[in-house]
């Protein structure tokens, strides 16, 4: 570009911003950052606080009321009977233990399956294969939850495909029961565990792995000392999904669980057939407390930023 020295120096013309209302608002807001923050947060907090927290609080209060056994109406007399019943009833203890056991097993199975796949996707597969694999993991999420649970009912049924495939090896279908529930729930939540772990592994730079190798780290020690600490929050994030989704499930256990009950079933029957909302609310306190304890325990890992 040549510059013509005789031409008058060109002045950049900066248009004076017009004093529209939008402009004034913009100026005012950029000077008042607290106001900006409260405008940003007011709508979502109004929604979450009013819709959700108020509803939860109301539910907890309901747990302290009773149902009039004659009219079936909720009577607002304060009592801790429901909570005592839930805490001391052997049915509730058994079902709680069973539910937590199922949720823990599902979570462990999912993490064990998800780790190698996520690692392959993030660190071994070519970019093209990587993209196809993510699609392959995401796609089953769109087949209805119910249809998938029912498909497992069909797979595990007597004379179903599982027995059909296993019979040459002398295997049996586990039939309907807790093992079937665990298999089905692990299946349903697996993509929710793979995706955060995959995202976590993608954030581990390859150069770190190479540095570890250069410094003499073997495969296992690199995985244990470099990779695992970095993806730990992502693993916890995945576990929150599988754990909490399993903890509240009552439909899968109805479809493949035989006669077994989980906490969700107890809540469901007390809301519906038994028409005892206070007792249902008291039972619902159990998963609420468990999840709160879990979230409190994992908060320091930074997992909540990895969901």
């Amino acid at each position: 570009m040549t510059v013509d020295a005789s031409a008058p120096p060109r002045r950049a013309v900066v248009p004076q911003p017009r004093g529209t209302i939008a402009r004034q608002g913009s100026v005012f807001l950029s000077r008042h950052s607290r106001l900006r923050l409260s405008l940003l947060l007011s709508a979502p907090l109004f929604w979450l606080g009013l819709v959700y927290i108020a509803a939860l609080a109301a539910l907890l209060i309901t747990a302290l009321w009773t149902v009039d056994s004659f009219t079936g109406q909720i009577s607002q007399t304060w009592t801790v009977d429901n909570i005592v019943a839930v805490l001391t009833g052997s049915l509730y203890q058994t079902v709680t233990l069973r539910t937590v056991g199922v949720a823990l097993l599902v979570t462990i199975i999912d993490i064990v399956i998800a780790l190698p796949i996520a690692f392959y996707m993030a660190k071994v597969a070519s970019p093209r294969a990587q993209r196809l694999l993510v699609i392959a993991i995401l796609m089953p999420l769109w087949a209805s939850y119910l249809v998938k649970a029912y498909a497992w009912r069909s797979v595990l049924s007597q004379g179903g495909i599982f027995e059909w495939m296993m019979s040459p090896f002398g295997g049996h279908s586990p039939g309907y029961g807790l093992p079937a529930t665990i298999i089905t729930l692990s299946y349903l939540w697996l993509p929710y565990v793979i995706l955060p772990i995959y995202a976590g592994l993608e954030r581990v730079p390859d150069s770190l792995l190479e540095a570890s190798a250069d410094l003499g780290g073997g495969t296992w020690s690199t995985l244990r000392l470099v990779v695992l600490p970095m993806i730990w929050p992502a693993i916890i994030a995945g576990s929150i999904f599988s754990f909490s989704l399993s903890l509240g499930d009552y439909i899968t256990v109805n479809i493949v669980g035989g006669a077994n009950q989980m906490l969700g079933n107890l809540v469901y029957t007390n809301v519906g057939a038994a028409n005892n909302l206070p007792l249902a609310a008291a039972i619902a306190l159990i998963p609420i407390l468990i999840i709160f304890a879990y979230l409190a325990a994992v908060r320091r890992t930074g997992a909540l930023n990895n969901l």
Binding site: Y52, I135, V147, V155
Partner: protein
């Protein structure tokens, strides 16, 4: 760490086996949608297109799909707005109680659906004295969809930093202009990914839906639950599931392409 060839092969094999396991039940669904057996015996005694024809004529199913689309679109729209607002607030400002708010966003998805369901049901009916309808359903869905948008957007904001926004305001752009021309274009793919997850979450939700939908509102999962155990309807349900999976390829493919293109640019 350099993986040996056998180690890579082993990882590939595990991935292949698990993918096969993931698709096995879906394959069963696919095959059963052509099966002449009404109660899904295996192997199928014969094949027919009857269920496919029936599915596309089933008014209940089509209506349910439309209802689910409406609910999922509305809930996603609300979640996109609220999720973006809250992530801007939490990422761009330091203040007391920030952790509590991010916990608050996560809570509706971390607590089991049945807790959310009965809490909202109780609040709507006895607390606010409103009739359950499609509106209460949308409110409930939006509540637990916020988190997917929030997570995607806040992760993006964290990575972007503020330098481009600062440059924009140094050059004289007001906050609206900066958001419209600088922040929003950079958030677009995160919004798409978060919105897609929110949509999928709402479209397939059954537990919260059971408790917050009015009796006249039939979403697709509710319709499926009604029909799954009816012998003449189960194969039709399978057809719908197959169609959903096939149709879902389109948005997932686009989401991946947008994400992939951005990775190259950076």
């Amino acid at each position: 760490m350099r993986l040996s060839r056998p180690a890579r092969g082993l990882l590939a094999a595990i991935t292949a086996v698990v993918l096969a396991l993931i698709y096995l039940p879906l394959l069963v669904v696919f095959v059963n949608s052509f099966s002449t057996s009404k109660n899904l015996t295996w192997p199928p005694p014969g094949f027919t297109l009857e269920w496919w024809a029936k599915a596309f004529q089933s008014e209940g199913a089509l209506e349910a799909v439309l209802t689910s689309l409406q609910v999922a679109l509305a809930a996603t729209a609300v979640a996109l707005v609220l999720g973006t607002l809250i992530s801007l607030g939490l990422q761009r400002f330091e203040f007391f109680g920030r952790d509590a708010i991010s916990l608050l966003v996560i809570l509706p998805i971390a607590l089991p659906g049945i807790v959310t369901g009965i809490a909202l049901n109780n609040a709507f009916r006895t607390g606010l004295d409103v009739q359950l309808s499609i509106l209460t359903l949308i409110i409930a869905h939006a509540t637990f969809c916020i988190v997917t948008v929030f997570n995607n957007v806040i992760a993006r904001l964290r990575r972007l930093g503020t330098s481009l926004e600062d440059a924009s305001s140094d050059l004289g752009a007001g906050i609206w202009t900066t958001f419209r021309l600088v922040t929003f274009p950079q958030l677009r793919s995160a919004l798409f990914a978060g919105g897609l997850l929110a949509f999928a979450l709402s479209f397939d939700e059954i537990i919260v839906t059971t408790f917050t939908a009015g009796s006249s509102v039939k979403t697709l999962p509710l319709w499926i639950l009604d029909n799954l155990f009816r012998p003449n309807q189960a194969p039709v349900v399978n057809v719908i599931a197959v169609v959903l999976v096939l149709v879902s390829i389109i948005p997932i493919y686009f989401a991946q392409r947008i994400a992939g293109a951005e990775k190259v640019v950076r």
